[in-house]
Symmetry: C2
Subunit: 105 residues, 2 copies
DNA sequence: TATGCTAACTTGCGAATTGCAAGCATCGAG
DNA sequence: CTCGATGCTTGCAATTCGCAAGTTAGCATA
């Protein structure tokens, strides 16, 4: 538990992972999320997640030369955690909704 | 997701909830956990959890007049979240172990 | 009554982390 | 060769954190 929290026990990390699950791959896509993560925090979290082996940087996905980020197996294994948190929020916090379907399943 | 993180999206809150699930009820018991939460942070988190309806303060459990803290239904509903995080940690973070059985189930 | 002990907080303060804004650096399009 | 878009990095004020040191209250012993 405590070790897991060392990896993603803060306000932003799990939101980044959520965006990855939802299909985000590029820096701009994360900043476009409604919560509005500061760019310096995002850069830090991406580095940290990479360091923990939760995500990996792939050099060039499409035509551009900008990096893309993908979940590793370790990162994909976080899905149950996210699902549990989403379900709890939906059940107990009023006025919450969720986009249930990932863009790229 | 984001709303859930508003409630427990920080380093200490979920550790407090974990201790509650494990049977802790009193201030001293939380501070005794191996992670060593600072007392001011603990006081703040207990207040915040109470404010969010995750825990409740019961005036006197045993002979003493010190308060005890208990999970509400909302708090108990966090169990799947904790379980998912524990399982992920055990599966992917090396050298982790867990005390699987709560003292008071 | 004085003295000590423990539990449960609160306060103070230096250090680290955050959020916001602005500033680079690179690339392809025009 | 300028322009806009993208992907970061830097600076700085403000919040939060962690540690240590009080403070308060209820027994307890003498």
């Amino acid at each position: 538990m405590a070790c897991s929290l060392d990896v993603f026990g803060d306000r932003w990390t799990l939101l980044v992972v959520r965006d990855l699950v939802m299909g985000a791959e590029r820096f701009k896509e994360f900043t476009a999320s409604p919560e509005g993560i500061p760019t310096n925090v995002l850069a830090d979290r991406l580095q940290r997640l990479q360091h923990h082996g939760v995500i990996e940087q792939v050099p060039a996905a499409d035509g551009t030369r900008h990096p893309a980020y993908r979940l590793t197996a370790k990162g994909k294994a976080l899905h149950p955690v996210l699902a549990a948190m989403r379900d709890w929020g939906l059940a107990w916090e009023k006025g919450t909704r969720a986009m249930l379907k990932p863009k790229r399943p």
